[in-house]
């Protein structure tokens, strides 16, 4: 029983869940912009996150660039990939776009898996985190002396990631409430009408995909520094669907729903890993991994069947299937 409470009350554990939730929130905010506002069925979001993570790691390891510059170039690279993929693909109808983007993300993963010289292939990349761990340690010391609480690497990451979630949320909120956002919504509601008013839908969708991809890269950068190690198995298509579950949980087109969806998802996903009471105590790690994904699948089915607008969405603004 003490062990049960121990796991439940352990700050380290919940800290880890909170960092994970923050990274999921950033990742899903990018998708929310693409799907919730521009109506793009992007099933290859993870591909852009992979580009962000690996570009940064490769630039640090092979070109010895400083962390900040490498991160910046990684974000820009992911945005450029968004443009390159979007320019032909965004002309396709929704279901074809979905299949094209998931195929794109698989192509990226296959390249990462096989470009052993740059990415380490299946073994992954290590040794890109030196700059970051120095920075994190220094920041941790500074914060400790200010607050008299100890700051381990996870806790530092926690106080880094959530302000970035807030910042991205605020920027996107501003953006989606600006004239640009109104055009975006108009395109989503009725592409022909927006076109007739002289707004080029492709141009706006491209911008949404580029920004969303840049945000995915930011998530990828935090993800790299949470793990301190990158491997192709972290970038399977499944991860994209986690972002979909988060967006749909919070409500399509509801920016504020994303962090809530991310926290719920992280608690379900990471939170069930260490809890030891019945009936969870009957399952070993492998079984739990399977059960977690069964639960995620059931949530997705139940959302689509009973509440497609999500927790906070409005039915009138429901974007699925117009």
């Amino acid at each position: 029983m003490t062990f049960v409470l121990g796991a439940f009350l352990s700050i380290d554990f919940w800290q880890y869940v909170a960092v994970t939730a923050g990274i999921y929130a950033i990742f899903a905010l990018g998708l929310q912009l693409e799907f919730g506002f521009a109506g793009l069925l992007n099933f290859g979001h993870i591909g852009f996150m992979a580009i962000g993570s690996y570009t940064m790691a490769i630039l640090i390891v092979h070109a010895s660039l400083p962390m900040w510059l490498a991160a910046l170039i990684a974000i820009v690279t992911a945005m450029l990939f968004g443009l390159v993929v979007g320019l032909p693909a965004l002309r396709l109808r929704a279901d074809y776009l979905a299949i094209t983007t998931i195929a794109f993300s698989e192509i990226i993963r296959i390249f990462i898996l096989n470009s052993v010289r740059w990415t380490g292939g299946p073994q992954g990349v290590l040794g890109f985190a030196g700059d970051y761990t120095d920075f994190s340690a220094a920041l941790g010391r500074r914060l400790s002396s200010l607050t008299h609480i100890s700051f381990d690497p996870d806790r530092v990451l926690l106080v880094l990631v959530w302000p970035i979630v807030l910042l991205i949320y605020l920027v996107l909120r501003r953006l989606t409430r600006s004239p640009w956002g109104r055009v975006m919504r108009a395109i989503r509601e009725d592409e022909d009408a927006a076109n007739a008013l002289g707004k080029n839908p492709l141009f706006y969708k491209l911008q949404a995909l580029a920004i969303g991809s840049g945000i995915a890269a930011i998530a990828g950068i935090f993800f790299s520094y949470q793990l301190l190690y990158l491997s192709p198995t972290s970038f399977e298509p499944l991860f994209t669907f986690f972002a979909w579950v988060i967006v749909l949980l919070g409500g399509t087109g509801r920016l504020g729903g994303v962090p809530v969806g991310a926290v719920i998802f992280a608690v379900i996903f990471a939170g069930t890993r260490f809890l030891e009471f019945w009936p969870l105590s009957l399952l070993d790690d492998g079984d739990r991994a399977a059960v977690r994904l069964i639960v995620v699948g059931l949530i997705l089915i139940a959302l689509m069947a009973f509440r497609p607008q999500g927790i906070f969405g409005k039915r009138e603004e429901l974007l699925l299937d117009r």
Binding site: L41, L92, T100, L293, I301
Partner: protein
Amino acid sequence: MNQFVQLTVNGFVAGSIIAVGAVGLTLVYGILRIVNFAHGDYLTFGAYMAFVANVTWGLHPAFAAANAVVLTAALAVGLEFILWRPMRRRGAGVTSLFLTSIGLALVLRNAIQFVWGTTPFRYRINVFQSYDLGLFRISQNQITVVASAVVLIAGVGVFLSRTRTGKAMRALADSVDLAAVSGIDTNRIVTWTWVLAGSLAGLAGMLLAILQASLNPNSGFNALLPMFAAVILGGVGSAYGALAGGIVIGLATELSTIAVPFQYKEAIAFGVMILALLFRPQGLFGRARVV
């Protein structure tokens, strides 16, 4: 030259499995507008049902195949009644159904993983026998696979072109409204479409596990995107197109290894699919129309 012939043979064998699996995928896509991401996991399910019959119960592979067909068809039809039909009644559209199928895929794959674990299995079939035919080598497994697949493809072709139900299926895939107006009982045909899709998926899953001499909970999902590539190459809703598309994808994947390192061959299938979508969204054999 020898390498070319060998790769063509390998490509034809791999492509024939994709073709068998893709027929159901394209019919369901065309008729019900379900982009069924769980279809790959139907293959996995069938492969495990064959495994249970062949290894757990110790039955002959023919009975294993029968078990895969019957139970996968039952799964597909059962899901039509408890999931897809209620969803359609609620007015769910393409995107909702698409996302639902992703949820279903996660449930199926992980239920299989929960029951059988992640350790790869293989059937009780001799996998090492192979024959040298001069121009190329072919293994016992490949012969089994390609012979079964050719029989299945021919059978599907006859069924779709000669039987009333088969013709009705193609009519529905072309236009559900026109088919309904001309007096076809659409619900009955939809059920039969799932029977066909499930049976073929179950068999394709078993053939895949025979060819790869290995079976794990991701086997079917890994074949999903190549099957979608076949569906798109053949034109969505076209069963004949999917059969031909599957062979084309198999050949393109294997023959690409002449020019690019073999590790990238899966990426080639996806690349071919993306090019097809961009330049011929109606499929290689389809006529241009509003898609």
